[in-house]
């Protein structure tokens, strides 16, 4: 270990926000150190104070925020003693920050090149020409194709992934010694995320930059960081090297967090996830003593709530600290607790069948004058599959792959251009929702992605569920409907008092439960769940996912689970359908899809998903470029522009013809849409392997 001072040293930092009513402590007694060239991960759920730490380091806390105690030392100098001018010189030059929304960090009215050149022009007073040369060089470093063209583009002309690369480039323009990344990939698709993460890692190595990487995704932190700091409710609860914290955790919160995320090996029936009970405490309602106390399995009355708890060194490991009084008493090797095994559900007869479903949108080239050439967006291209009773069918794909269009057609918000959808031998593909009978409408329902958007903010929770009951003609009287509504709240495990609450009084997870209750109001048999947990915190995700599974078991519902998160898909689905640019490229049982033979896209997708398990070894496949526009899809195989196996197919077959479905498995259940020969597909190596224990 070197003796030179760390790049960033935070000691006992406390940050509070002051409102008219009270002081709200956002960060308490937070310490950590980032050494030169080290990448430090900051992990925690939303509201735990991780972004506040970053802002505190930048000394950019706004009017209400204030550092109440502790110090932040940058390269050995206390930042509190610096003047505003000195701080300005450091920000952007020595410490650079990358935010979550790339579009929000770029000035939409300024060309990319000028924004990049601004950094050295302001900080280093160099000539324009030199600045331009540096900008070009950095653009090449962040692997953007055709840097000259990009310099001349406005931010909105670039894709999300490209924008984030520009933001990274801007941060690197002045060769900072510390890079703070605040959820830099959360707004991006998985394959793009993988590429950006790969880039950040490479650049960190190349420039020797230290990094503070803020994320809620443990898998991502595992892939990028050397050290890790877990935060809970304003405090750091565990700090240490990645391997130590992941494999030899010494804090109950860290342990609970790992139990609530789906890792390979978790299984909805045999090894279900364990959600953390209770709710995250509000900053002004923190319990005495240990903040995690009320939710902790190891809580001891009179000990954990009696005193404020300092960080303890974990014996026998270097630089590993935990904030737990009982860290040396707890048997950390003990396996899952309270996990209840459940029986696998019997999968019944097919109730929904799609055959050759097509959905095209016509876009007029010019809206002012009719006529001219019409362009066609092929949102869905020959979708065929069937879904059985009490089965979970996952639909996986990145944004723009046609998942949402498919859901709209199924719900009847759009009608199919071609092909059929049969529900119980009754064709519904051409029937818009207003022409469907009540039973059909009640049978096919949807759970939405954004919990903050799924409920009408100006109606009580109970009223919204009762409205669904009214529409589905359930319960003759108001009293009967109210009774049924309360039953539904029981079903989703919400207290009955919630009936009279307004949605803004509920947390994200609770809102999502209300959304589920509403979807099941009419005894839905098919529920389309559009990323139902992706906007929730990890500890809540498990609870909501398990709730869906439990309802499925009792109601024999068919669940169409739309997601891009392959970890959760692997955990709870029976079959998986992978979509790309409106095509189904692979479909089959979950185990078959997650094992070779793969479709090349599935292979890349699997490799891109970060997994928070040190034992997992992944093959690295980084997809180049972006998903092509559906307005102008590539000829032949939709994936041919990004496929790494393309050279294995003789001739220009991939560019000419859409490949046929190749069937695998005993009953041909596993289908792959690819030109590769059967032998080549079967010869693929698995992407994810578990290292021998």
């Amino acid at each position: 270990m070197s003796t030179e001072p760390p790049i960033l040293e935070i000691e006992n930092l406390s940050i509070s926000f002051f409102t008219r009513l009270r002081e709200i402590p956002a960060v308490m007694d937070f310490s950590c150190a980032v050494r030169a060239g080290e990448a430090m991960g900051l992990v925690g759920e939303s509201g735990c104070g991780k972004s506040t730490v970053a802002l505190g380091v930048m000394r950019d806390l706004g009017v209400n925020g204030r550092i109440t105690s502790g110090s932040v030392k940058f390269k050995g100098r206390d930042m509190a003693s610096m003047s505003d001018a000195e701080l300005r010189a450091i920000r952007g030059r020595e410490i650079a920050m990358i935010y979550q929304e790339p579009m929000a960090s770029l000035n939409p009215a300024m060309k990319v090149g000028r924004q990049l050149m601004e950094v050295p022009l302001i900080h280093e007073n160099i000539a324009k020409k030199e600045a331009r040369a540096r900008a070009l060089e950095v653009l090449t470093d962040v692997k953007l194709p055709d840097p000259e063209r990009i310099m001349d583009a406005y931010p909105h002309q670039l894709s999300g992934g490209q924008q984030q690369r520009i933001v990274i480039a801007m941060a690197l323009m002045s060769k900072p010694s510390l890079l703070i990344l605040d959820e830099p990939t959360t707004a991006l698709d998985v394959t793009v995320e993988a590429a950006v993460v790969e880039l950040v890692k490479d650049l960190g190595r190349k420039y020797g930059t230290s990094m503070l990487f803020i994320s809620h995704n443990l898998g991502l932190v595992l892939e990028t960081c050397d050290r890790l700091c877990v935060m809970y409710s304003g405090e750091a609860v565990e700090t240490g090297n990645i391997a130590d914290v992941f494999d030899k955790m010494r804090n109950p919160y860290t342990q609970a967090l790992f139990r609530s995320i789906p890792l390979p090996g978790a299984d909805k029936n045999l090894k279900p996830l364990v959600a953390i009970p209770g709710n995250f405490p509000l900053p002004h309602e923190r319990p005495p003593g240990c903040n995690f106390g009320p939710r902790c399995d190891y809580f001891q009355d009179g000990l954990c709530d009696a005193q404020s708890i300092p960080m303890f060194d974990v014996e026998g490991q270097s630089r590993h600290e935990t904030r737990c009084l009982r860290h040396d008493e707890i048997d950390w090797s003990r396996q899952e607790i309270r996990a209840i095994e459940t029986e696998k559900t019997e999968i019944g007869d097919p109730i929904l069948r799609m055959e050759d479903l097509k959905k095209y949108y016509e876009v007029n080239a010019s809206s002012l004058f009719k006529g001219g050439d019409k362009r066609v967006v092929k949102a869905n291209e020959s979708l065929s599959f069937e879904a059985r009773e009490s089965e979970t069918l996952a639909i996986v794909g990145e944004s723009g792959c046609g998942k949402s269009t498919f859901a709209k057609v199924l719900m009847g918000l759009e009608t199919a251009t071609d092909g059929t959808i049969t529900l119980d031998n009754q064709s519904i593909g051409d029937t818009p929702i207003q022409d469907r009978d009540t039973d059909t409408v009640a049978d096919v329902q949807m759970v939405f992605q954004n919990p903050f958007d799924t409920l009408n903010p100006s109606m009580t929770v109970g009223r919204q569920i009762m409205r669904a009951l009214e529409i589905f003609k359930i319960g003759g009287t108001e009293a009967a409907r109210r009774e049924k509504m309360l039953d539904l709240l029981d079903l989703v495990k919400l207290p009955r008092e919630f009936a009279d609450r307004m949605p803004r009084q509920l947390s994200g997870g609770q809102k999502q439960r209300v959304g589920i209750a509403r979807a099941f109001a009419g005894g839905a048999r098919i529920v389309v769940a559009d990323e139902p947990v992706s906007a929730l915190d990890v500890s809540v995700q498990a609870a909501v996912a398990d709730l869906l599974m439990e309802i499925q078991r009792t109601q024999k519902t068919t669940l169409l689970f739309i997601s891009h998160d392959l970890s959760i898909v692997r955990y709870l689905s029976d079959r998986v359908m992978v979509m790309y640019l409106g095509h189904v490229v692979e479909i089959g049982d979950t185990n078959d899809v997650f094992a070779p033979p793969y479709h090349p896209y599935t292979e890349a997708l699997l490799s891109a998903v970060p997994i928070a398990d040190t034992r997992v070894e992944k093959k690295h496949i980084v997809l180049e470029g972006d998903v092509p526009s559906a307005m102008n899809p590539p000829s032949g195989c939709p994936f041919q522009t990004r496929c790494r196996w393309k050279s294995e197919v003789p001739g220009d077959l991939c560019e000419r013809e859409v490949p046929p479905m190749v069937r695998f498995g005993a009953e041909g259940q596993h289908q792959i849409k690819c030109h590769l020969t059967r032998e080549k597909l079967e010869g693929m190596e698995p992407v994810i392997t578990m290292a021998a224990e």
């Binding site: 509070s16 002051f18 002081e23 204030r66 109440t68 719900m411 009847g412 918000l413 929702i433 207003q434 469907r436 009540t438 409408v441 009640a442 096919v444 329902q445 949807m446 939405f448 992605q449 954004n450 958007d453 799924t454 409920l455 009408n456 903010p457 100006s458 109606m459 669904a468 009214e470 529409i471 589905f472 003609k473 108001e478 803004r504 959304g515 509403r518 009419g522």
Partner: protein, 484 residues
């Protein structure tokens, strides 16, 4: 008899007021200049976690300025309270403060009750968290109560239409005399704010004019909102051709010169053709349509409740509507006389029609914009996927969630309408010439403005304070609705 002075026996306070005002202006100016050179005091975190500022020269200046302001407020309050007690003994201000006692009591009651229960009153309660909003609310309520108690004959001192040849253009505080005939027993002895060029009491006319404004402006604005909402929601929700057509029409109306439109509407030849009446007939249908659709879309799943509800609502609204448009000897005489509840004077109908006609396109555009945003929310998709009708989605899913900006705009728009009424009155359009409404009185007073400013000044200040109050109220509402 001596004319009244402004402050009467409270005149001792006047020097204090002027000193405080001068100090305030001076200190504020010094503070402004000093702020350029001096640094503000440091903020220190106290051990108990609160923040405090150390006292620097700037802070001292701030404090002094604030105290000067408090003194001004204190003296003004003393004038009002003392006036309410002493009455005419405290001069003109005292006389007015005493006449307005019912208003003060009502204001104190409303604000007191609201402050007590502010936590339970939603957005209205939160309004009192903002100083600007509270001031605006108080100003608006002052005029509402003044109009209300004025209509009950508790405030006005003389008949607003009664003339006295001896009082022509007399200055405020003149003793009441008459040239012809005797003064009634118990008549108020003074013209508090003087007399206008026909010898009418300016104070009484100002209070009586408040009633016209407070009645017409909110009602006309409410109608404009009904029209704007009923058209704006479908334009946003359906989009396409309907949207294009409606937006085009709205732009067309917006592009039309407003004053010219008003002149056209009141031209006798045009009134004779019945065009304003027909326009009223069309515009006043919208509330009925609005409420019918609103209730039907909500309760069509419960037929037992819907039928009586709709019969009552359509019945009552329909009757009001028919009474409204049907006028004896008018172009539309649809109801027999014994069923006709009331007749609206032709002038007021024209004012209504013009205000609604001019305001509804703007409301339409606001509603359309809000609707376009809200219709992309998941709860709208959820309503669609459970098969709700389009009107339910528009009126129960979109509209309630657009309420924040709409309430704010409503307050602002009542203010604009008040000014518009003033403008109409000023041009002598619509309302009868003897009407005490503020626009007409300003116009009357205008002719001798250089010699006798008081007949025009009183209604002008009234108009100013009401519109200012409405704007402040809207600001406060906007500020508070953005919070939380």
């Amino acid at each position: 008899m001596e004319p009244l002075t402004w402050t009467g026996s409270l005149a001792v306070l006047t020097p204090i007021l002027w000193t405080a005002a001068a100090a305030f202006v001076l200190l504020a100016a010094i503070r402004l200049i000093a702020g350029l050179f001096l640094a503000s005091g440091d903020t220190v975190t106290q051990p108990d976690g609160t923040l405090s500022m150390t006292r620097g020269p700037l802070e001292t200046l701030d404090l002094a300025t604030r105290w000067a302001f408090y003194v001004i407020l204190g003296v003004l309050a003393a004038f009002l309270v003392g006036g309410a007690v002493l009455g005419l003994g405290a001069g003109i201000i005292g006389g007015m403060a005493q006449r307005l006692i019912p208003v003060w009591i009502a204001l104190a009651l409303v604000i007191g009750v609201s402050l007590t229960f502010r936590r339970r009153l939603g957005l209205y309660g939160k309004l009192f968290g903002s100083t600007i909003g509270s001031v605006g609310f108080a100003l608006v309520m002052f005029w509402v109560f003044a109009a209300f108690f004025g209509a009950l004959d508790m405030i006005v001192t003389h008949d607003p239409l009664a003339q006295s040849g001896a009082m022509k253009n007399e200055v405020p505080g003149t003793f009441y005399t008459k040239m012809i005939g005797d003064i009634d027993e118990g008549a108020y002895p003074y013209y508090l704010l003087g007399g206008d060029n026909l010898g009418r009491d300016v104070f009484s006319r100002m209070i009586a004019g408040a009633l016209v404004v407070v009645q017409i402006a909110p009602m006309a604005t409410a109608f404009a909102f009904m029209v704007g909402i009923t058209l704006g929601l479908p334009a946003a929700y359906y989009g396409g051709r309907l949207d294009t057509t409606l937006t085009f029409l709205a732009n067309l109306i917006l592009a039309f010169p407003v004053i010219l439109l008003f002149y056209l509407l009141v031209t006798p030849e045009i009134v004779a053709t019945g065009i304003p009446t027909y326009m009223a007939a069309v515009m006043f249908v919208f509330p009925i349509v609005f409420f019918t659709i609103l209730l039907n879309s909500r309760y069509h799943t419960r037929p037992k409740l819907r039928l009586p509800l709709l019969i009552i609502v359509i019945g009552v609204l329909g009757w009001l509507y028919l009474s409204l448009i049907s006028k004896r000897f008018g172009v539309l005489e649809v109801l027999p006389r014994w069923l006709d509840l009331f007749d609206i004077p032709g002038g007021i109908l024209v004012v209504f029609v013009s205000v609604v006609f001019v305001n509804s396109p703007t409301v339409f555009r606001i509603v359309r914009g809000l609707g376009l945003d809200i219709k992309t929310r998941d709860y709208v998709a959820a309503a669609q996927t459970r098969g709700e009708g389009p009107w339910y989605i528009m009126l129960w899913e979109l509209l309630p969630n657009a309420r924040g900006p709409l309430i704010v705009d409503f307050c602002l728009r009542v203010g604009y309408t008040t000014i518009l009424l003033g403008t109409l009155g000023f041009f002598g359009l619509g309302l009868p010439p003897e009407s005490p409404d503020w626009g007409s009185t300003i116009n009357d007073g205008r002719k001798l403005l250089a010699i006798y400013p008081h007949p025009a000044l009183a209604p002008a200040l009234a108009l100013l304070s009401l519109v200012l109050g409405l704007n402040l109220l809207a600001d406060g509402l906007r500020e508070e609705s953005l919070r939380d």
